[in-house]
Amino acid sequence: MSNFYHMPVLPKPDAKKVTINVDGADVEVPEGTNLVEALKTIGIDTPHFCYHQDLPVSGNCRQCMVETDGPRGMGLAIACYTPVRAGMKVATDRSSDKVKQARQAVMEFQLANHPLDCPICDKAGECSLQDNYMAAGRHESRMREDIGKLYKGSPEFRHEDAKGQERGGKHVDLGPTVILDQERCILCDRCVRFMRSVAGEEQLYINQRGDHAFLSTFPGMELKHDYDLNVTDICPVGALTGKHFRFRQRVWNLSKTETIDPFDSLGANITVEHNDGQAWRIMPRRNPEVNKSWISNRTRLEYQKLSKDRLTAGSFQKAEVPLAQAVARAGELVRGARKVAVVASGTLTLEDNAALQALVAGLDKKAELFSGSWAKVGSPDGIAQSGDPVGNRLGLKLLGISENLDELVARAKEFDVLLVAGHDLWALDAQKAKALEAIPERIVLSPWHDATTAKATLSVGVRAWAEVRGTMVNCQGRIQMLNAAPILPSPDLEPVWQVVSSIGKLGWTSELDAYKAAQAGIPALAGINYRGIGSQGRLLEGVVA
């Protein structure tokens, strides 16, 4: 296969439409798009393996064949690389037996030497071979039992199992995060294209040719990249699987909650997949404007932190107290203090920060609001991260909260109560944070036991990012929704805005009250409610990124 492929032309909302004839009916489709995408806009799904919307088109699987008209009449052509032409005639499987047979034949070829691994394969339930077999295949097996399946691939990993069956490489360790099963690979080339075009480092390649082709890394090298787990998403079968999720859960048991990654200001769209009160994995959500279909490994493995070191109760003078008691004590301290320093956080939602703002406003001269982050800001990698670990920086700016954390460090002695929410100050820069230890009462609202709660005089457990419903504004000026997954380690935990509301006696009962307060402070949010934000976020007008 050559190394240069074109990206597919995806339909844009304001594209010009042309008329084509599909199955005898005239339809309007966007001009110049690949036929797969054009048929999708009119509701016809074409089965495919190697085609991916965000990867260059390779066209090697031949599953997506439809009949189109050519100089010699109607003939089979792959839909993924055929651009739409005005007046073309297309016959899908709805009207053409040839297409049906072609798709069935391709399925038969794909399944001929594919191992019978469904019971032990992690991809079961989201496997393209399974889905396409049900949609387009359903052929009767013509395998000869005396010969069975063959594997002519990698000679290093080829072996025979106990029943004399030829097997390929099982659980081949490709690198620190990904495991390869060579037999299952259908040589669709998606992972190779991803690493080459999207990740930028070509670490996988397909050796040999024809029947002997197999996937592997370069000799002596491994698959190691900040985005390498994306190959497990795009692999249509269970050839490439992630070590973190291996054998842990079956995908049909998982429920999905759509949210975004708060630890990067691009706000990659993700789905937290959970079952039985526990998060099992994070999968990317497709958002062509934000992160396409990709998320970094760091984002993907965030779910592991949700169940470790969680602060589920309050802690006061080194003793554990029930949450309600801790919140009440925090309220007393804050309202009765001489001067309170409240530190807002860019990893918290707009609602949480609006609550902190309202708390400070309610306390008038006695409280001051600070914000900022000592985290290092990197540069965008062009895939799914902007490099800025503060997810809601633009949101804080829109709320009018200035970044003046260093001023707090300088003036620490003026305050007698410090309220920190969602901010691991002592872990980011212990030297600067040491100055804050001059403040006698340090209240910390944090989901985890971390360095900051260790230095706190009163810490209150709160919900983590995946358990709250709220909004964040990403670095593009897009407001995106976070949704709550039912994975609370303890049922008493409350979101930050609710704890702050109890401390400041704001009387808020739902995040909508907090959002209304945020709306009041941000004119760009006028008229946008949660439903208006939707699952793809919404670009705010008049916001400079």
Partner: protein, 188 residues
């Protein structure tokens, strides 16, 4: 359309009741004497000393089938747990050390109090790892937790209790075809 049920009037003899009493007494005495002199004609089964007749396909307590080396045949594919209409199976999978197997269960628990004994798990299993043919129907315990049977309890069966014609059972450790199975598996 109403159905007319014919109601016959009682004859004079029946109305008098005494002859009917005599007839009834004859019937009961007949039963009594038959039971008294031929007690084997009484259709009473001396349970639990005498084993009751259990049909071949009766769905009783589950058992997990074993490979010739004693490991469970189960590959933790979750088909049974997904098919179960009562949601009574809790399975956790882990990697197997045996290269040929890949996946095995680290925890396999069935809550017998929740199980409705429908047999769907047996039908769903792709490798004949679970069966419901132990013919054990009466289990009693004094704590609810005892009814959650785990991997060891489900594999706790003796091949001698199963018919010789059941090839798959007899291949298990201790079975009569064990030697043959071990040769097939290369465990000599």
């Amino acid at each position: 359309m109403a159905r007319i049920v014919p109601r016959t009037e009682m004859t004079l003899v029946e109305k008098a009741y005494i002859p009917e009493i005599a007839r009834g007494l004859k019937v009961t005495m007949g039963h009594f004497l038959k039971g008294f002199f031929k007690p084997e004609s009484i259709p009473v089964k001396h349970y639990p000393e005498v084993e009751p007749f259990v049909p071949r396909d009766y769905r009783s307590r589950h058992r997990l089938m074993k490979r010739p080396d004693g490991e469970p045949r189960c590959v933790a594919c979750f088909m049974c747990a997904t098919a179960c209409p009562a949601n009574c199976m809790t399975i956790e999978a882990t990697s197997s050390d045996d290269d040929r197997i890949e996946k095995k269960p680290s925890k396999f628990e069935i809550d017998q109090l929740v199980c409705v004994f429908c047999g769907l798990c047996v039908e769903a299993c792709p490798v004949d790892a679970i069966r419901m043919d132990t013919k054990k129907m009466a289990f009693a315990a004094d704590k609810r937790e005892t009814f959650k049977v785990g991997l060891e309890d489900l594999m706790d069966w003796d091949p001698k209790d199963y018919p010789e014609s059941d090839i798959q059972s007899q291949k298990a450790p201790g079975g009569t075809l064990n030697a043959q199975a071990r040769k097939e598996w290369g465990l000599q």
